[in-house]
C-alpha cells in the first residue's frame, strides 16, 4: 500500500502538511491519560528479554540484542482560532536482532509475552540463516562489555504529557492570536511531544532501561498582499529539543539578540513562542516589500538556527560511515568523504572549523545514556582545525577504520524497525576567544545576515548545496542595512567550510534541531541537534530566487 493511501485514512497527517517534515507518529490512538500510565516493570521486561535471548541462542544465534519499546506521542494542531486535531498515540512491542552464521537477522513482534518474544527470536535466527547464503563477509562486532542492570533518564523538569491539553491548546491559540494581532493573514501552530521508554538487553550482559523526552513547538505565519497577489511566510525560530515542557517557559537569559538593527531574537534552552509569533508577523509583512537581492558574492553571517541545517547536510551526513561505504547508495546517497579522500588530508574547512560529534549534550535531541545496541554514549572529534579526523560509526563498522569501539550512535525509530547507524549531534565548536555577533558583523563590508533555516537541497555525495532562510538582512560597511528577499546561496561543501572566517563565542552558542531526519529503506526517521554560534563565511555565491510566471 502506498503511503498516500494510508495518510488519506488517518486524521493525523491532514493538519500538518505545511510542515517541511512531519515527525514519525507510529502507533495506535490512545486516551491522553494513557500517556501518563507507566510501562511494564523493569523486572518483567528483563524476564521477557531473557526469553528472547535464550530462544535465539537455542536456535543458533551467536549474538542477540532485544529492544522492548514503548513510544508515546502527542501532537496538537491549530490554525488561526481553531483546533484542527489532537492526536495521542502509543506503540508497544519488541525488536530482536541476532547474528547467526555470521549474518544479521531481525524480527519484531507486538506480542510482548515470553512466548511471543521467543517466537520472534526464532524467526530472526531463521532470517539470518536464510540471508547468510548471499553473505560475502561475516559481521564483525566491536567488543562491548556488559553494563549489568542500569538506567538513564532524560534530565527534564516537567513531563509535557502531564500538562493539561487545554493549557497547551490555549498556548497555541494565544500564539495564533499574537500573529493575527500583528498583521498575519494566516497562522498554523503545532506542538509535538514524544516519550521513548526503551529497554535494551543483549548477550553481552547489559540490561538498560531508558526514558527519553522530546518536544517541538512550531508555527508558520503567512502574510498576503491581495492587491499584488504576493505572499510570504516565516516559520518559528524554535528548535525541537530533548527537553520537557519547561522549554515553553521563557527565560530572559535564553534570549539572544541578533546583530544590532536586525530585529532577530534567537532562543537557547527555553522558547518564548508568543514573542516569536508577534515578531514573525511583523517580519513577514516586511518581507512583502523587502528589496530583492542582487546576485553575487557576499560574506554570509549565519545564525545558529540556520547554520545547524548546513552542518547537518554538509558535515553530519557525509561523515556517516555507512554512506561512505555505499550502503545508502540507492536512496540517501554516498559521500565525497571516502576513506581514500580522508587519506589525502585535503582540508575540509579552515583552521577555525572544529566539529564535534556527541550523544551527551543536555537538552539535545541526540542525548541518551546508551545507544540502541547497548553502547555507552560519548563525544568525539570529527574535524579538528579544518582537518577530517573521524567518522560516525557503530559496532559492525568500527573495524573498517581500525577502531576498537563503537561511537554509540546506533538507533531505530521504533521497536519494529532494525537499528542502524544514525547521525549523532554534530556541532561546530564556538570560538574560545570573546566574539559577539556585532563584532562579527563589524568586519563585513558587503554581506547578508541570515536567521532561521529555510529551503535546503544537497547532492547525493554532499558537494553542491543550496540553502534559503527565514529572514535576510543586508550588511553594508559593518552594519545591518535593511531586509532582503529572494535570497539563497549555492556552494560546494569544501569551499564553504574553507571560507569560514570566524565564529562567535560560547555566549551565542545554541541548538538547531531536526525531528525527522530520514535515512534507510524503508525510511526511518531520527531526531538530531546541531549546536553552533553565529558564524561568518566569506565570498559565498548568492542567487536571486524570484521568478515571473504568466
Amino acid at each position: 500500500m502506498k503511503r498516500r493511501d494510508f495518510v488519506g485514512l488517518t486524521g493525523l497527517a491532514t493538519s500538518a502538511l505545511w510542515l517541511p517534515s512531519l515527525p514519525s507518529f507510529g502507533g495506535t490512538e490512545v486516551d491522553p491519560a494513557h500517556l501518563l500510565q507507566g510501562g511494564a516493570d523493569v523486572a518483567v521486561k528483563k524476564r521477557l528479554a531473557d526469553a528472547a535471548l535464550n530462544a535465539a541462542k537455542a536456535a543458533g544465534a551467536t549474538y542477540t540484542d532485544v529492544r522492548i519499546g514503548r513510544y508515546l506521542n502527542q501532537g496538537i494542531f491549530t490554525r488561526e482560532k481553531q483546533v484542527q486535531n489532537i492526536a495521542n498515540t502509543e506503540s508497544y512491542g519488541a525488536g530482536i536482532r541476532v547474528i547467526a552464521n555470521g549474518t544479521w537477522g531481525f524480527a519484531s513482534t507486538n506480542v510482548v509475552t515470553e512466548a511471543g518474544m521467543a517466537k520472534a527470536a526464532q524467526l530472526a535466527v531463521e532470517i539470518a540463516k536464510a540471508n547468510s547464503k548471499t553473505q560475502k563477509e561475516k559481521v564483525q562486532l566491536a567488543p562491548q562489555r556488559g553494563y549489568g542492570e542500569v538506567s538513564w533518564k532524560a534530565p527534564i523538569q516537567q513531563n509535557a504529557f502531564e500538562v493539561p491539553i487545554k493549557d497547551k491548546v490555549d498556548l497555541l491559540l494565544a500564539t495564533n492570536a499574537k500573529a493575527l494581532e500583528n498583521g498575519a493573514s494566516f497562522v498554523n501552530s503545532v506542538l509535538f511531544q514524544v516519550n521513548e521508554q526503551k529497554y535494551f538487553a543483549s548477550t553481552d550482559g547489559s540490561y538498560i532501561d531508558q526514558d527519553i523526552h522530546r518536544i517541538y513547538p512550531t508555527f508558520s505565519v503567512t502574510a498576503i498582499d491581495r492587491a499584488s497577489g504576493k505572499f510570504r511566510s516565516r516559520q518559528a525560530l524554535s528548535a525541537p529539543m530533548g527537553l520537557g515542557y519547561e522549554y515553553l517557559t521563557p527565560k530572559a537569559a535564553d534570549k539572544i539578540a541578533g546583530p544590532a538593527g536586525s530585529d532577530v531574537i534567537g532562543y537557547k534552552n527555553s522558547y518564548d513562542i508568543l514573542e516569536d509569533a508577534a515578531r514573525a508577523a511583523k517580519q513577514v509583512k516586511e518581507k512583502l516589500t523587502a528589496k530583492s537581492v542582487t546576485p553575487g558574492k557576499y560574506d554570509l553571517v549565519l545564525d545558529p538556527h540556520h547554520l545547524g541545517l548546513t552542518i547537518h547536510e554538509s558535515v553530519g551526513h557525509p561523515l556517516e560511515l555507512d554512506r561512505v561505504l555505499g550502503y545508502e547508495a540507492n536512496y540517501a546517497g554516498t559521500s565525497f568523504a571516502t576513506l581514500e579522500w580522508k587519506a589525502k588530508n585535503i582540508p575540509y574547512g579552515s583552521k577555525v572549523v572544529n566539529i564535534v560529534a556527541d550523544k551527551l549534550q543536555p537538552g539535545s535531541l541526540g542525548a541518551v545514556g546508551y545507544d540502541d545496541e547497548g553502547v555507552k554514549t560519548k563525544e568525539w572529534n570529527l574535524i579538528e582545525q579544518g582537518k577530517l579526523v573521524n567518522y560516525e560509526k557503530i559496532r559492525d563498522q568500527a573495524h573498517i577504520v581500525g577502531q576498537t569501539e563503537s561511537d554509540g550512535c546506533c538507533y531505530a525509530q521504533s521497536w519494529q524497525d532494525v537499528q542502524f547507524q544514525r547521525m549523532p549531534n554534530v556541532s561546530l565548536k564556538p570560538s574560545a576567544q570573546k566574539m559577539s555577533v556585532d563584532d562579527l558583523v563589524k568586519g563585513v563590508d558587503k554581506g547578508i545576515y541570515i536567521a532561521g533555516n529555510g529551503s535546503f537541497s544537497i547532492d547525493q555525495q554532499r558537494y553542491n548545496s543550496q540553502f534559503g532562510g527565514q529572514v535576510f538582512y543586508a550588511i553594508e560597511k559593518g552594519k545591518i542595512a535593511g531586509m532582503l528577499e529572494d535570497v539563497a546561496y549555492q556552494t560546494n561543501t569544501l569551499e564553504f567550510w574553507n571560507s569560514c572566517a570566524a565564529t562567535c563565542d560560547q555566549s551565542d552558542y545554541r541548538f538547531a534541531g531536526f525531528f525527522n531526519d530520514g535515512k534507510g529503506q524503508p525510511s526511518q526517521s531520527s531526531a538530531v541537534s546541531h549546536g553552533s554560534a553565529t558564524t561568518r563565511f566569506n565570498a559565498v555565491n548568492v542567487i536571486n530566487t524570484a521568478r515571473k510566471i504568466g
Binding site: 500500500m1 502506498k2 493511501d5 488519506g8 485514512l9 488517518t10 486524521g11 495506535t28 490512538e29 481553531q82 483546533v83 492526536a87 544479521w104 531481525f106 536464510a130 540471508n131 548471499t134 493573514s185 498576503i224 491581495r226 492587491a227 499584488s228 497577489g229 505572499f231 511566510s233 555505499g326 550502503y327 545508502e328 547508495a329 540507492n330 536512496y331 554516498t334 565525497f336 524497525d417 532494525v418 542502524f420 529551503s455 535546503f456 537541497s457 544537497i458 547532492d459 547525493q460 555525495q461 554532499r462 558537494y463 553542491n464 543550496q466 529572494d486 539563497a488 549555492q490 560546494n492 524503508p522 525510511s523 542567487i543 530566487t545 524570484a546 521568478r547 515571473k548 510566471i549 504568466g550
Partner: protein, 444 residues
C-alpha cells in the same frame, strides 16, 4: 489475517457500529501484508516484513469528534475502542469546519488494483529477484544497491449513515542504483506495478548497469539554460519530492482562494479556467485505469472518479475538502491518488533522435521548494546525465543543480513521449527547452 474479505471486514465493522452510542460513527479497517529486501555492495543488507490489520473508529457528538484505534478484534477490544473514541469526542472542542458523515455512495470498480501474483509473493521470490540482480552486477564487476518492497492490502469503511466501502490493493516497487567500483559512474532504474508478474529485476538492473558504465568520465558543461529530455523517473519519484508531483499537490482550492498559491488571483479568487501551460498539457486521474489502478474512494469516503485537472493547458479543476466545497459552492473533488499525463507514442530514444543539442536526465534528486509563489524548486541531476548532439548521446556530463518551476517548464514544452508508470502515476518523458541549470555538482 491481514487480507480480510469484504464480508469478513464488513461484519467486523457492523459489530463496531452496533457498540456506538454517538450521534455519528464511522469505522475503517486497513490491513496490509508484505515484505521488503534491501541490498548494498551486491549483498542483502536488511530484510523485513509487515503483517497488520488496524481498526480506526471515529465517533461524533454534535460537532465534536474523537478517534481511537486498535489491532485486535475480539468483542471486548472492539467495545473498548468505540468507548475510547466516544470519550475523546466528548472532551474535544467543537470543529467549526464540521461536516456530517457521508451517506451511501456509489463507487467505481477497479478490478486491476489487486492481483494474485503480488499477493502471493514469498520470501523466496524476493531473494531470487534480488539475487539475480546482484549476480548480474557481480558478472559485470559493478556494485549495486537496491530495494524491493511489495504489499497487498485492503481498506473497508462503514458508517451509521449508510456508507459502505471495500477495496483490495497490491503494489510492488523496485529501485536500483548501480555504480562502477571506482565510483566514477552511476546509473539508476525504478519501476512499480499492481501486478508483480510484470516485474523483472534483471531487466531493470541491466538498464541501471548500462547507465553506470556509460556515465564514466563525465565532462563538465557550463551551467545555463539547456534543452533537456527528462525521463519519467526525473519527473516523478517514489521516494522524494518531484516537479510534477509538486504541481499536482498545488492544485488545492483553499490555498488558491486564500491567496497563498500560484493559482491565487490578484485581488482575490483563483485562476481555475485560465490557460497556464502549453496546450499539449493534459493531466487527469482515473483510479480504474488498468496500468495505475487505485482506490476508488478517498479517506473521507468520497468517490474517486475520472477527473480532468488540466486540459490543453487550462486548469479545469481543483481538489478540496468537503467543508471548503460547501462553503464556496464549488465542485466537491477529493485529492486524487495517482494521476495520468497524456502523451504521444514516442519513446525516450525517439525524443533523443529528434534532438540537435540537449541533455538527457535520468533522475532528479533532493528537490525542495524555494518559492511557493512561483512554485520554484531546486534539486540536482543524478545517476545518468548525458549530452545529446545531432540525435545521439555524445558523452556523459557532470551533474547539475537546477532552479526551475514546473509551471515555466510546462510552458517550455518541445515534445511529449509515451507515458510509463512511475510511483503509481502515468508519466511521459518530456523534452523541455530553456531548463535552468544554475551550477555544477561534483557528485557521481
Amino acid at each position: 489475517m491481514a487480507i480480510l474479505s469484504k464480508d469478513e471486514a464488513q461484519n467486523i465493522l457492523k459489530k463496531v457500529l452496533s457498540f456506538s452510542t454517538a450521534d455519528e460513527c464511522e469505522a475503517t479497517l486497513n490491513g496490509q501484508i508484505g515484505g521488503n529486501v534491501r541490498s548494498a555492495r551486491n549483498a542483502i543488507s536488511t530484510s523485513g516484513g509487515v503483517d497488520n490489520v488496524a481498526l480506526t473508529v471515529e465517533s461524533r457528538f454534535g460537532k465534536r469528534s474523537g478517534v481511537a484505534t486498535c489491532n485486535q478484534f475480539d468483542d471486548a477490544t472492539l467495545r473498548r475502542c468505540v468507548q475510547r473514541a466516544e470519550e475523546i469526542a466528548r472532551l474535544a472542542p467543537e470543529s467549526p469546519e464540521y461536516m456530517p458523515l457521508l451517506g451511501p455512495q456509489q463507487y467505481l470498480e477497479s478490478p486491476k488494483s489487486f492481483t494474485a501474483s503480488t499477493a502471493g509473493i514469498t520470501p523466496d521470490y524476493r531473494a531470487k529477484q534480488v539475487g539475480a540482480s546482484m549476480q548480474l552486477c557481480d558478472q559485470k564487476k559493478l556494485t549495486s544497491a537496491a530495494f524491493l518492497n511489495d504489499s497487498s492490502g485492503f481498506i473497508a469503511k462503514r458508517n451509521n449513515k449508510g456508507l459502505e466501502a471495500y477495496q483490495q490493493l497490491t503494489n510492488l516497487e523496485f529501485s536500483i542504483t548501480v555504480r562502477t567500483p571506482d565510483g566514477t559512474g552511476s546509473g539508476y532504474a525504478t519501476a512499480d506495478y499492481n501486478d508483480a508478474s510484470k516485474f523483472d529485476a534483471t531487466r531493470l538492473t541491466q538498464i541501471a548497469a548500462d547507465k553506470a558504465a556509460g556515465s564514466v568520465n563525465a565532462k563538465a558543461l557550463e551551467p545555463g539554460k539547456y534543452t533537456v529530455i527528462l525521463e519519467p523517473a526525473a519527473l516523478v519519484a517514489n521516494t522524494d519530492a518531484s516537479l510534477l508531483q509538486a504541481l499536482m499537490s498545488a492544485l488545492d482550492a483553499r490555498n488558491a482562494d486564500e491567496g497563498r498559491s500560484f493559482l491565487s488571483k490578484k485581488g482575490g479568487g483563483n485562476r481555475k479556467g485560465e490557460k497556464l501551460f502549453d496546450e499539449r498539457v493534459t493531466i487527469y486521474s482515473d483510479p480504474t485505469n488498468a496500468d495505475v489502478a487505485d482506490l476508488t474512494f478517498s479517506g473521507d469516503g468520497r468517490p474517486q472518479k475520472k477527473v480532468t485537472w488540466i486540459e490543453k493547458g487550462v486548469v479545469k479543476n481543483l481538489y478540496t475538502t468537503r467543508y471548503w466545497a460547501q462553503k464556496n459552492n464549488i465542485p466537491d473533488l477529493p485529492r486524487p491518488g495517482g494521476w495520468i499525463m497524456e502523451g504521444g507514442t514516442q519513446s525516450t530514444a525517439d525524443l533523443i533522435k529528434s534532438t540537435q543539442r540537449g541533455i538527457l536526465v535520468t533522475r532528479l534528486w533532493y528537490i525542495r521548494p524555494v518559492d511557493p509563489q512561483t512554485l520554484l524548486y531546486t534539486g540536482l541531476t543524478r545517476d545518468g546525465t548525458f549530452y545529446i548532439e545531432n540525435g545521439k548521446i555524445k558523452h556523459p556530463v557532470k551533474n547539475f543543480r537546477f532552479n526551475e518551476s514546473p509551471i515555466i517548464m510546462l510552458n517550455n514544452l518541445e515534445a511529449i513521449g509515451k507515458p510509463v508508470r512511475v510511483g503509481g502515476n502515468l508519466v511521459p518523458p518530456l523534452k523541455i527547452r530553456d531548463f535552468t541549470f544554475t551550477s555544477l555538482s561534483d557528485a557521481v
